[in-house]
């Protein structure tokens, strides 16, 4: 009878110990979830910020690229214009006297 009582007592103690283990795990789980919920906003914000920052970088690259392209065009236009201007100068030098004579004719005739 004594042995049986000892056995029941041991089982009861282990039950209590088991209950405590489960309770601690439950508390730990609740703490984990609590921390995750607290962290959730910063995770959201970080993901948002990182993704948007990449897009902002891409937008800046787009604008930079377009500006570079426009600069290249400007250089081409100016170079073409300078060449044309040289051609104009050559023609103008050649025809200068003829043009002056034409003005004089218009005034004097």
């Amino acid at each position: 009878m004594l042995v049986l009582l000892e056995a029941f007592k041991a089982i009861k103690e282990k039950h209590l110990e088991a209950k405590k283990i489960v309770e601690e795990a439950t508390a730990q789980a609740a703490k984990l979830m609590n921390e995750a919920e607290k962290k959730a906003l910063s995770v959201y914000e970080e993901a948002y910020r990182k993704t948007l920052s990449q897009a902002e970088q891409k937008a800046m690259d787009l604008k930079r690229e377009a500006a570079k392209e426009a600069e290249k065009k400007l250089a081409i236009f100016l170079s073409t214009a300078e060449n044309q201007a040289k051609g104009i100068e050559a023609k103008a030098k050649k025809n200068f006297k003829k043009a002056v004579d034409s003005v004089l004719n218009m005034i004097l005739c």
Binding site: E6, A7, A10, E13, K14, E17, A18, I21, V22, A25, Q28, A29, A30, L32, M33, A36, E37, K39, A40, L41, V43, Y44, E45, E46, A47, Y48, K50, T51, L52, Q54, A55, K58, A59, M60, L62, K63, A66, A70, E71, K73, L74, F77, L78, T80, A81, Q84, A85, I88, K91, A92, N95, F96, K98, A99, V100, S102, V103, L104, M106, I107
Partner: protein, 208 residues
């Protein structure tokens, strides 16, 4: 005693397994929650990014088109200013040649013709001739000129040299006596009047 030990070990093992299960599930839930939040953040940012990129694309394109248009204007301006400079050079050279010519013998008949033409346009009669100081000293045959105007207009014409002197390269202003009506046949005014057409003509000769 042995059976009691087995039972208690079973109880503890079961409790440990349960505890492990609870913790694993919590960890998974926490991970899922964070992953979901992360995805939500990315998705929301992607929506904003789409708008941002679209705006950036159109701004970049617009800026590019503006810059290209400005570049074309600049390039055209380089050519245009070069042409304008040469046209100005021609006009200045023509003025210089005219100034030199006013000191030669060739000038007197030209001046007389300018006065005649002005007198005819005014319809003859009593006319005054205004010249620059240098031309005022020339041996102008005003009677001859008046005669020509008379012939062309049919009105008896008299010409008088005005005391008033002009500051012009050459040529003359003819004025109806006692009247404000004038005909400006100075080189300066002929150039000014014809400048628009002249520039066009000069451009045609110089650049084509």
């Amino acid at each position: 005693m042995e059976s009691t030990r087995v039972i208690t070990e079973m109880i503890l093992d079961e409790a440990k397994r349960s505890a492990e299960g609870i913790l694993q599930e919590a960890e998974k839930s926490a991970e899922d929650l964070l992953e979901k939040q992360k995805q939500r953040g990315v998705q929301k940012a992607n929506e904003a990014a789409k708008i941002l990129l679209k705006k950036a694309e159109s701004e970049a394109e617009l800026n590019k088109l503006n810059s290209i248009a400005n570049s074309k204007i600049k390039a055209n301006w380089v050519i245009l200013s070069k042409k304008e400079t040469w046209i100005d050079n021609v006009l200045n050279e023509a003025k210089t040649v005219l100034k030199i010519m006013t000191k030669t013998k060739k000038y007197l008949p030209i001046l007389e013709k300018l006065i005649t033409d002005a007198g005819v346009i005014l319809g003859g009669k009593e006319l005054e001739v205004l010249l620059n100081p240098q031309d005022s000293a020339l041996p102008l045959r005003l009677d001859n000129i008046a005669k020509k105007i008379t012939e062309k207009t049919g009105f008896e014409t008299k010409l008088k040299l005005s005391e008033q002197k002009l500051e012009v390269i050459g040529g003359a202003i003819v004025r109806i006596a006692n009247c404000k009506v004038i005909m400006d046949n100075t080189f300066d005014d002929i150039l000014r009047r014809g400048e628009k057409d002249l520039r066009f003509e000069i451009a045609k000769i110089l650049f084509f």
